[in-house]
Symmetry: C3
């Protein structure tokens, strides 16, 4: 077990040992979730504040449930009814929750870097409060990439999910790469695990500069990251296909011709999966636009689609993260 | 004790034995609610998701409290901040909550049939998740009718509330029958219990076809169901008067002349109750438009009005339903 | 220990013994909050309903956390999704929560007097439900003034915070006095504790009638209350400076020239504090408009600013109030 982080903000500098620690911890919590009483007293009396400056249902519910299953108390903050509208700064809001006695903060914000800024402030104040990035702008969404990793690795070895299982695997990430924090976090976790990552999108959603930027950030991954402006080369012999949610607003900003044309060119269907490995599986972070990113029947396929498993993994992985950030001690 | 349902979606096919099971179970939970510590560990570690696609305060709070008093964890979903606005289908939202580990779903939706469709999907997936209809369009609101039944039967025999107590009783349901899911569910429970049900409303809110439709659905109740386009015949010798909430939108759609005229013709007042049995009682599902469906002083009458008891019954009945749906085992 | 109140609605008639009871009880709960498991079973199985007819994040979260740390179940009502929009009266909403089994109600409303009216109704119904005013219009916000008192007295004697510590101290309250429920509640608590209270604001936000009104309500405090239309006389030799939040709407109603001019005349800065006692401290109820009521660097000063301590005190003081209102018995 290797863990020395108070905050989980980005996967850019996660080590293989840290990935494995998350996978093993999540695996033990998954066992808890199969019991009738799906609850452990680990974080009893501690407070997890969900500060969602950007609206969310599924991610907030998943974190809330993870916290409750660790017996923590939860506070939910929704921007719509918040003091933000009264002119308070985000850092001041975070410091208010700190002063109330919050032990961990789960933060989503539409601007990249907000969770990092809050974590920096907590460190500056020298308080033992962990900050978890639940999605910041187009930057990162680490818990989503970790649950994707856990889902894939658990499929390959349910008893001992570990990142080395991905060595040499080909993984296609398809869709709106440019605007996707999910894609960014997954690029870090998948390449660090030894996989080959193939990005596929129309040029407007995957400019050349994107790959250049990622590769410059970490030259060691350059041999594992490939860019395609058509779908087929990404799918050929792929072991896993990750589709991304398409924000329908992209069309109004003229980045896309039409949803129908997008589906024809980049939508994942049963037929197109024939290009992949015979045991290929499909992932999607949800919520899904049926018939756009993925065909409706493929989404519902209980073998090919891992979408439900991803949601289930999400609770176990988030329990693991809160547990590790909280010091990994059983309360 | 007779109970074999995973879901509670409609009262149309409830048997007298099932009604009595709910009444007896609610009666035992009512005792819990008189203790200082109003809580039992029955559903400890289980998750009840309140999926309210239509806004609600009182019903959601009642279910939330019922779940908490059974020691369940609750997840609240409010449509206003939901992925629904992001294009996800309702079934996909329900499946997301399923995959997170939800044990029971309480669902309200403005369209009739949504809870049934979700329950069907859960059964198709062969998962042991119970679905409870907390109001679907103008279709049904079974927990409201069950709490009305519990309120009435408890008044008649607080120790042993049972549906046969209603045999031969006359019950008037007054108001916007046409648009009322509460009325529909009550018609099933009251006629099944042997009561005579008299519906009273202006013709625009109670078309002939309504009674014909109900009677065709279940010919056995035709001798117990009566329609009146004036108030008096429904009130004469009535044992209980159920008033319904009037949606003020009805006026703008020209179904009603004015609130004042409505009150003059169909509003329940102390004076009008003189037509009923001497020990008549009045019910209303709330929230009440004072001075429209019911006069303000009658609503506040501690003897004649059962409105507060209905709210109290609601928590006990919803505890009973969650308990029975959860297998009736003490956790 | 002196406590005989079911409700906490106003501080106008609080006795010194009652202030001390709150301070001592909060002090013992503060100790609980330093433990790893910051929770006591005091209100297990009881229900605290937060009825916030006016939106709030910080106060609602503070009460919710206080209730959870006493192991109570909480119900949150937010006006935006409520039956209020369906025409139900506020008293009927409160009675609905009563009938569900609520033990204590925490109420915020934009109209002065609403919590009092609800408390009167509970008493009329002869039910043992406590009502706590969490801010009513421009009237009072007693828990805020009590947490201010606790913050100040704890600074002076952390082991034994008591109101007599304030005897002879000079406290400046600066800002929008006219519209501030926080100022009103603080005037009662500070004068009752023997302090000299100096109000400072532009004449539009502090009309002569204000002081006259307060003094008439309680002639005994007239020698302790002073009004200033400039900042300096209030600051000279002050022991504590309370700044109030400035509602930016005040400008649009022409009560203020500009935020910049306001800050120049009444904003609290490090420089201006030189007029005060050397060990002066600054308070603010939050949320803060940085650079308006108070300069940004002063707000962040870990010695001069008590703003974080106020938030922390808030949880302890609200635990104390819920505990005392609940009968002060350990459950």
């Amino acid at each position: 077990m290797s863990w020395n982080r108070r905050h989980v903000l980005s996967l850019a500098d996660f080590t293989p040992a840290e990935y494995d620690t998350v996978l093993q911890t999540a695996s033990s919590f998954r066992e808890v979730l199969t019991r009738r009483t799906k609850k452990v007293p680990t974080l009893q009396g501690q407070v997890v504040a969900n500060l969602f400056f950007e609206p969310s249902t599924r991610t907030r519910s998943s974190f809330e449930l993870a916290a409750k299953r660790l017996s923590a108390d939860t506070l939910n903050f929704a921007a719509s009814t918040s003091s933000i509208t009264k002119g308070e700064t985000i850092l001041d809001t975070a410091k208010t929750y700190l002063a109330m006695g919050t032990d961990m903060m789960v933060i989503r914000h539409k601007e990249a870097g907000v969770p990092q800024a809050i974590a920096d402030e907590m460190d500056r104040l020298d308080v033992k409060v962990g900050v978890l990035n639940a999605g910041d702008g187009q930057h990162e969404h680490p818990s989503q990439a970790l649950l994707d990793l856990f889902t894939i690795c658990s499929l390959m070895d349910v008893e001992q999910p570990r990142s080395t299982l991905l060595k040499g695997k080909k993984i296609a990430i398809v869709g709106d790469i440019l605007h996707s924090r999910v894609a960014r976090s997954n690029i870090w976790s998948l390449t660090a695990s030894g996989a080959e990552v193939h990005l596929a999108a129309p040029p407007t959603l995957l400019p050349k500069e994107f790959a250049a930027f990622v590769k410059e950030s970490d030259p060691s991954i350059s041999r594992q990251l490939f860019i395609h402006w058509t779908l087929e080369p990404a799918l050929i012999d792929a072991d896993f296909v990750m589709t991304l949610r398409l924000q329908k607003e992209r069309m109004t900003s003229h980045l896309l011709p039409s949803l129908r044309e997008y589906h024809q060119q980049f939508g994942i269907t049963r037929d197109r999966l024939k290009l992949c490995q015979p045991d290929v599986r499909v992932l999607h972070p949800g919520p899904v636009n049926r018939g756009v990113e993925i065909s409706s029947d493929l989404m519902d396929d209980p073998v090919l689609s891992l979408i439900s498993q991803q949601v289930t993994s999400g609770v176990a992985v988030r329990m693991a993260l809160l547990y590790l950030m909280g010091g990994g001690k059983v309360g």
